[in-house]
Symmetry: C2
Subunit: 137 residues, 2 copies
């Protein structure tokens, strides 16, 4: 079902500062920057290798999900995302096993992907994202 | 410098229960089980794809690092590990950039690997592991 560890999402207070940190420490390249109003974040994707990324997330406001996470937990890993071939199919198969989905329908993720989140309490305490990558043109 | 996201390490109270959960939810295969006395954990590696894994970690005692993490944070993502070609070389290059290493020398990791941990405060709040995989025989 899972094709790869697509990305690790890291919540931070200052996106530009953390982009510089990860670029410098690990010699990573920024491959996308986006503002996702629906999720209340501005973000950057830094390629680790192939289709695996570090995603840096800065909240657009303190009362967004990532803003509340930062207030509660501080900076660090916010979620882990796994690549799947078909996100709707994966959502259905996982929901059948009793896992609560945080999204009823796939929504827009980074770089044109379709994504859905799973309830962390049903996945070992890990906020888990499923990612169907955009078709390459 | 980074070759892959090698694994996501998840702290849990009951290794066997969480192995069953991840096997069932995501159809993952257990490729290794180990007790690491030095780190105070028993663990399992479940292959996501290629050389990327979910690592499940149960503490051997409450006063081990993972035991203290569970008491403080509860179950969930404990660390993220990135594959490197030569862990000693990567440690040196990263230390030169001012990141504190939690290990002065590489130590033994899962499946015969050589590993080192970086201080989470210097890596965006993420406890970060570098992994040099064992040579295949």
């Amino acid at each position: 079902m899972l094709l790869r560890i697509d990305h690790v999402g890291i919540a931070c207070h200052d996106l530009e500062e953390k982009i510089r940190l990860f670029q410098e420490l690990f010699e990573l390249e920024v491959v996308a920057r986006e503002v996702n109003e629906e999720q209340g974040v501005k973000e950057a994707m830094l390629r680790v290798a192939g289709d695996s990324y570090i995603q840096l997330l800065e909240p657009l406001s303190p009362d967004s999900p990532v803003g509340r996470f930062l207030a509660r937990r501080g900076e660090g890993v916010h979620h882990v995302a796994f690549g799947v071939g078909d996100v709707s199919d994966a959502m259905g198969r996982i929901a059948e096993k009793g896992v609560r989905l945080l999204d009823e329908q796939p929504r827009h993720g980074s770089m044109g992907s379709s994504i859905a989140f799973l309830h962390p309490k049903d996945v070992g305490g890990m906020l888990t994202e499923l990612v169907q990558a955009a078709k390459r043109k």
